[in-house]
């Protein structure tokens, strides 16, 4: 594992997400994701019984885990930790064996028609230019936030403070880098 120079991840505010999928299309356009595939996706989860219903909309993607099973189980070293704190795939040494797909608890990967495994890169090519990810830049509700967790700004901290925040499948020990502000929070929390 190379030495971490950054620790990028996301804070996702599900209170405001409307599930419009702008993030999905922005990613497809930015990253030339092939037809029929996507690197991020939207979940609209409704619970309860009429008329006592609750909803959460989430824009999901690779969680860029700090303890990533995909990296552990990749036999060729194609899946690796990047120095910016994300998980990346080196296509040239990926054999498309799918071990990473079986290991990933978040179902974040797919086999690209060209034979390698593909997933969200957290727009590494944009971050390197000082830009935010395509999805973060375009999201109409500003549900998505790109955060360097090593150098969190006051704004980043305020976003999480006093709110019901969770990470997905923490019990798997993956240390995911995506933090979710629950839709259960009252407005203005």
């Amino acid at each position: 594992m190379s030495e971490k120079k950054k620790n990028y991840g996301m804070i996702i505010d599900t209170r405001v997400c409307v599930g419009c999928s702008a993030c999905v299309y922005a990613c497809k356009a930015e990253n030339g994701v092939p037809e029929g595939y996507c690197r991020d996706w939207v979940v609209q989860e409704t619970n309860g019984e009429f008329p006592k219903l609750a909803m959460e909309n989430r824009s999901e993607r690779c969680q860029h885990c700090d303890n990533a099973p995909c990296v552990t189980y990749c036999p060729t070293g194609a899946s690796h930790y990047d120095e910016n704190g994300t998980v990346q795939i080196n296509r040239s040494i990926c054999t498309g064996c799918k071990a990473c797909m079986a290991a990933c608890p978040y179902d974040a990967r797919y086999v690209h028609p060209e034979g390698f495994v593909d997933k969200c890169s957290l727009c590494k090519h944009r971050i390197e230019k000082g830009l935010k990810t395509a999805c973060v830049s375009l999201c109409p509700t500003e549900s998505l936030h790109l955060v360097d967790f090593d150098t969190m700004t006051a704004e980043d901290k305020a976003m999480l403070s006093g709110k019901d925040v969770y990470r997905q499948k923490e019990h798997a020990g993956t240390e995911p880098s995506l933090y979710w502000i629950s839709a259960r929070n009252k407005p203005g929390a």
């Binding site: 505010d13 209170r15 405001v16 409307v18 599930g19 419009c20 999928s21 702008a22 999905v24 299309y25 922005a26 497809k28 356009a29 930015e30 990253n31 030339g32 994701v33 092939p34 037809e35 029929g36 996507c38 939207v42 609209q44 409704t46 309860g48 019984e49 009429f50 008329p51 219903l53 609750a54 909803m55 959460e56 909309n57 296509r91 690209h112 028609p113 060209e114 390698f116 593909d118 727009c123 090519h125 944009r126 395509a134 830049s137 375009l138 999201c139 109409p140 509700t141 500003e142 549900s143 839709a183 009252k186 407005p187 203005g188 929390a189």
Partner: protein, 739 residues
């Protein structure tokens, strides 16, 4: 009726794929958009960003079109345009899917009849323009200008409007008035003296309490409003949603009130009743700035929360709670007028009830309340020719149809009816897929298209309507052309926006500006338009101290924020007959209508049938996006579903994912089956399906046969007798299982 011309039935023509873009479109695509094999972020030579505005819905957000090697690689939100603020909904990003649609119309087409067979012939532009100019001229000579009508949807129509005004044709309809924005527009005129606009005049940004009746922001991605509502949620603003369906917006609400469909006016009256009977309304505002309070009280006095509860299926306690909270948060509270509000033929009065609620709490021109955004004051250059009196003529028979909208002088259903009766003999259809537009349902549209003597469609795609006309003119997309300047949107920072081409027109398509010019030239009317479209834009911009060169850089000129709020004690000087806010309208009374909105019961569903409600998906805008492969790539975008309450589904032995045909109360069965979504998210007395699916044109190779057509199942319409909007929610459906 046969008018002595050589009239024969206009058969539907399946446009030959030879006349469509086909593989030519695909070969021009950057890899990764359609080839399916793009694997790297698209970066190429000659990269540039062209600032323009979107045409995938009426909101007209600013877009940044990224061009590389002469190809559009992606579209993002313009950071300069106040309506997009750097952000964009899926449809905006999906512009590439329209631009590179292999089904695009590629050539002008002329209908031919030979030996009982009808077919389209590929024509040169000169032949097609000769046919259109000649066809319209002949009808104009024989029957006069009122026998020609235009139906339009889309910003590029301005050139055709100008073209027609040169020969005195002024019978022009935009179906969106009848179906969408008309009732709110006219209700605001009748209550406050000015038309409501886009974005709607609500200070969402500063509001603490927002009520919505049936309008579902988040599913309709009206970018700016969705951005401001999200900001409201972060600030702690409360949202209240009255909707028979648990919409996305209802999912964000403090209170979701699953109101019985068609009872909204009773609910609004009950809220008024609580505000007045509990002395929670703004007395000073009502006394100083409104007329008709006692008439209003006489009308709502009997509508107690208990009485309304029995009508609306919402408890009296909940009604009181909402009314009290609304008053508590006022004036930073509002009831939104919504869009696509024409449900039962009394939509205008329903929206008047909303605006009266707003007036009662005194939120007019207050932070967080009702506001009147301003438009950029663009100076119109003097017309090339004198415009005679007909320019001011309004053809609609509805007494409170707008008198001040030159691009909308008659309801679209009136044009359909006049085409059927023979009063209208020629139609120019710009961007309206008439058979799938909720104007009077599909059959009436087909009758109208059959009946007229001459018809032209200007379109980008081989939509169903293009199979029923005499001449098809392929317009290029909004990404390949200039249009007129857009100062039609009012906002806190008034602005004027430019549409400019990111790439040259593909195939044999042309911009509307050129098509209209060719037609006027053929009529021998020269000098109607500026020598070039660029010169015309530059001239207009010079009048406000700018230039085409300047606006091209950012695609928009933005004014500083205007003062939206009233000062204490300042008279409102409204443009109503009384000069005040009209709680009771003497104009309406004089016209034989209710001065104050009344609740009228609407028809109930026959046993085993359910009221058919409609709406949209966030990544689609009905016909505009139906065939868009880029947007259609997500599973959620690929078909519509019929939402059925869990209990009702069990009664009909339906399980989630089943495919059924729908049958309406008149026995019409949907052409195609639709997927059942069994859900807790809807009342038992209604079903819901997104409009714009179930296309029958095989030339729309992507959209064909996906889902079921909502439009096909409309066989009853309720026209608002006051202002001509079309309601269509008194249609009921049941399920026909696959054999």
């Amino acid at each position: 009726m046969n008018h002595g011309t050589d009239f024969s039935r206009r058969d539907f023509i399946k446009i030959s794929s030879l006349f469509l873009a086909g593989s030519a479109a695909l070969s021009t695509l950057p890899s990764g958009i359609v080839s399916g094999l793009g694997s790297n972020p698209i970066e190429g030579k000659g990269e540039k960003i062209v600032y323009s505005f979107c045409e995938h819905c009426f909101w007209r957000c600013g877009i940044a079109v990224h061009v590389s090697d002469g190809k559009v690689t992606k579209i993002t939100g313009s950071e300069h345009h106040p309506l997009s603020n750097g952000r964009l909904c899926p449809r905006g990003t999906g512009g590439t899917g329209l631009l590179y649609d292999p089904d695009r119309l590629a050539h002008p087409l002329i209908r031919e009849r030979k030996g009982g067979k009808q077919y389209y012939r590929k024509a040169s532009w000169d032949e097609a323009i000769t046919a259109v100019a000649g066809g319209l001229y002949k009808i104009h000579e024989q029957y006069g200008p009122a026998s020609i009508a235009m139906l339009h949807h889309g910003f590029g129509v301005s050139f055709f409007k100008k073209m027609f005004s040169e020969i005195g044709v002024n019978k022009i309809a935009k179906p969106s008035y009848d179906l969408c924005c008309g009732p709110a527009r006219q209700a605001t005129v009748l209550t406050y003296g000015y038309p409501s606009d886009t974005p709607e005049g609500f200070d969402i940004k500063n509001s603490k309490y927002m009520m919505f009746f049936g309008t579902h922001f988040g599913e309709n991605m009206h970018n700016t409003a969705v951005q401001e509502i999200s900001e409201g949620i972060r600030r702690g603003a409360k949202i209240v949603v009255f909707d028979p369906r648990f919409s996305t917006l209802a999912g964000k609400a403090e209170h979701w009130l699953p109101i019985k469909p068609a009872t909204d006016i009773a609910m609004m009256q009950a809220i008024m009743h609580v505000l007045i009977s509990e002395n929670r309304y703004d007395k000073a505002f009502v006394e100083q700035h409104t007329v008709g309070f006692s008439e209003l009280w006489d009308e709502v006095r009997e509508m107690t929360p208990e009485k309304a509860a029995a009508i609306t299926d919402i408890s009296a306690d909940a009604i009181r709670t909402v009314a009290r909270e609304f008053a508590f948060h006022a004036p930073a509270a509002f009831v939104h007028t919504g869009r696509r509000t024409n449900w039962y033929g009394d939509a205008m009065q329903r929206i008047r009830a909303i605006q009266i609620l707003n007036a009662l709490v005194g939120n007019f021109k207050m932070p967080g309340g009702v506001v009147a955004f301003q438009k950029f004051p663009l100076v119109q250059p003097p017309a090339a020719h004198e415009h005679p009196a007909y320019e001011k003529e309004v053809y609609s028979k509805y007494p409170f149809f707008p008198q001040d909208e030159p691009s909308n002088t008659i309801a679209s259903h009136e044009i359909v009816q006049q085409a059927i009766t023979g009063e209208v003999k020629a139609l120019l259809i710009y961007g309206v897929n008439l058979t799938e537009t909720m104007t009077l349902g599909r059959q009436a549209a087909l009758d109208a298209l059959q009946k007229v003597d001459f018809s032209v469609a200007v379109d980008v795609l081989p939509a169903e309507v293009t199979g029923y006309v005499d001449v098809v003119l392929p317009e290029c997309t909004y990404l390949e052309r200039y249009d007129d300047l857009d100062n039609g949107r009012a906002f806190r920072t008034p602005f004027v926006a430019l549409r400019q081409p990111a790439v040259a027109p593909m195939f044999d398509s042309k911009p509307g500006s050129e098509i209209a010019r060719m037609i006027t030239d053929k009529w021998g009317l020269h000098g109607v338009f500026a020598p070039t479209v660029e010169a015309g834009l530059d001239k207009k911009l010079k009048l406000v101290g700018s230039s085409l060169e300047e606006i091209k850089k950012r695609g928009v000129l933005v004014m500083p924020e205007t003062d939206l709020y009233r000062k204490q004690g300042e008279p409102l000087n409204l443009n109503t007959p009384s000069g005040k806010v009209e709680l009771a309208s003497a104009q309406l009374k004089a016209g034989g209508f209710d001065a104050v909105p009344k609740y009228t019961p609407h028809p109930e569903a026959p046993a085993g049938y359910y009221r058919m409600l409609t709406g949209r998906k966030p990544m689609l805008t009905f016909g505009r996006t139906a065939n868009n492969r880029f947007l259609g790539d997500l599973a959620t975008a690929q078909e519509n579903e019929v939402w059925v309450n869990t209990t009702i589904a069990a009664q009909h032995q339906l399980t989630n994912g089943d495919y059924v045909h729908l049958k309406n109360q008149a026995g019409i069965v949907s052409d195609f089956p639709v997927k059942v979504k069994v859900t807790q998210r809807i009342r038992k007395d209604a079903v819901y399906m997104v409009h714009g699916f179930g296309h029958t044109s095989k030339q729309l190779t992507w959209a064909y046969k996906r889902g079921a057509s909502h439009n096909q199942l409309i066989s009853k319409t309720d026209i608002d007798p006051i202002m001509g909007a079309v309601g269509f929610q008194n249609n009921f459906v049941t399920f026909v299982k696959e054999a």
